[in-house]
Symmetry: C2
Amino acid sequence: MPRDRVTAMDVAARAGVSQSAVSRVFTPGGSASKETAAKVRAAADALGYRPNVLARSLITGRSRIIGLVVAYLDNQFYPDALERLSAALQKRGYHVLVFLANNRSDVSEMIDQMLDHQVDGIIAASVSLSNQLADRCEAAGIPVVLFNRGQDNWRLSEVTSDNLQGAAELAQYLVAGGHTRIAQVSGWLGSTTGRDRDRGFRDGLSSVGADLAASIDGRYARSEAASAARRLCDGPHPPEAIFCGNDHMAFAVMDALRFDLGMSIPGDVSIVGFDDVPMAAWKSYDLTTWSQPARAMVDTTVDTLMARIDDRTTHPKKHALPGRLVIRTSARGPATWPRPDKQGDSHARL
Amino acid sequence: MPRDRVTAMDVAARAGVSQSAVSRVFTPGGSASKETAAKVRAAADALGYRPNVLARSLITGRSRIIGLVVAYLDNQFYPDALERLSAALQKRGYHVLVFLANNRSDVSEMIDQMLDHQVDGIIAASVSLSNQLADRCEAAGIPVVLFNRGQDNWRLSEVTSDNLQGAAELAQYLVAGGHTRIAQVSGWLGSTTGRDRDRGFRDGLSSVGADLAASIDGRYARSEAASAARRLCDGPHPPEAIFCGNDHMAFAVMDALRFDLGMSIPGDVSIVGFDDVPMAAWKSYDLTTWSQPARAMVDTTVDTLMARIDDRTTHPKKHALPGRLVIRTSARGPATWPRPDKQGDSHARL
DNA sequence: GAGACCCTTGCATACGAATGCATCCGGAGT
DNA sequence: ACTCCGGATGCATTCGTATGCAAGGGTCTC
């Protein structure tokens, strides 16, 4: 049994003070004199003492751990978000306990496990929570923030980008580019992001007098998106442009059209996506898309969560952050466009 | 203060037994009669009781948490591994606390934080540990397994694929395909995987009487790999084939050659990678590569870790698991090849 | 039928740190 | 010189569960 941790008591003995004194030295805001602190720190260093987080959490009721529920990581947007979230939280002294919500696994069970671990907060990335689950968290006094997913429910905070606006702007861009037959491989219509982007796109089209020629639910899955693309384009009247509910599907669509149907992009058909994942800038795809402000979304998520952890009485709030159109070469566009953003620092590391 | 957790004492009161009885019912191997268990479970369900993991960990000394150190997540191999590792661990009742080792962040500090959280084990994915850090973990009695990274050190367990064999086989495949001028964009030579693949490739070449025309360290980074590729191919004698230290760099190399230099693949130059990430199967790249057995690596990693958690006396062991060549179209190959593996289930989900 | 043995159960304590309360000290104010 | 005040410190308790120990009850064996 090599688990001979050095405890506050050991440090106290060596420093000639009480265990309380040691605790106070290591507790921000604890009252201890200069000399005591010095003695304690010296003893602690000599012994290699570090406070036991578990014991501390048990008594304070705060674990400084945030539960992160995330679905699949094959869409690059999420590893990226995970990385940023974890970094932002680490900077504030929190750590991330990850829970993967494979569709077969039970989100309810995950919530229970998070509660068991006394997480101080929960971030649900791309996952919705039933009212019942939301209630359970609320009852336990654990704030929840939904990341990149909304809720009809009013009681949870959420952070998304302005999906309506983004999809609308993409629609207008396509129309301005001279496309008339426009189709969609939508995001999963069972999700709020999928529905919002769908509605935004349709609204955007009608705002300039166009409408949607065809639409298939791609469910945010590569294989579904690819087969949807083939179905859309294999007929006698293929669309001139396809809006994809996210970049991840857009890549699948582009591969399917280019390699299965031998079409050229944007020669035969224009493709636009949504997210602006790093891969969208790769020359093989060079995807015109809507940039979700990942950095800002992460910051807002963390800020919101922290605020609610520090003050339980603050009310849940819904944030829809502004993104921007990123014009590349996968879609034919108008000669000029109102917001010719530069794309240079689009993916600068934090 | 809505944090009114229901404790074992509450359950005990309602069930008319002692707190010990409750504890025993919820402890695997605890001795409790059928009826007691039934009463306790009924009371627990009625009250919504779940044991407090923190308190349990405090006394048992095991947190059922595994610390996972991972570097960048932009190489798809790692999100994939993270997902599988987390799933495998969840299945065994463990959870994953993630630590991101940005190069600016201090691995030593991370280790300390993991020790603070009493993690039962550490998985270091693509990260090496100094002897000093390894000692610190060992002293704390916490087993460490290196995932996809080796160590000259003998005291840590490690799980990799057979990098030497894989790189050698790729070399032989290229030579068999009729390439004579063969170059390399190596993995980071500061890492064991980078060095092993480099050596394996060179050995593989010489085993069939060929040798390496040029080699540049791509450091596992896209931008470095791209510029390396341009430097290699911009001269008067461009190579006929390039081996890349991983798929992630291979994609960058392909993009650079195709779009910056206007070369065709595999017409002008053959490209092979290493890893077989899902994206390698995408038609835009369709990369011939070496498949690292991700599933087996994850299983072995978890098994090794569990074995050492359950029995501290087991000795560290190094595993190099067999992979296999996955032939696609990014490289010209011989008409026949000894192991024409089917590639169908290469990326089946677990 | 009595002793041996196993299975249950409750009591008390331990895990390691935080914190309310009481005490003690020194310094400042009058 | 005496009181008052605030900061520093120790004592004891607390968080919620696991577990060693001893006692109780039932069963089996000879």
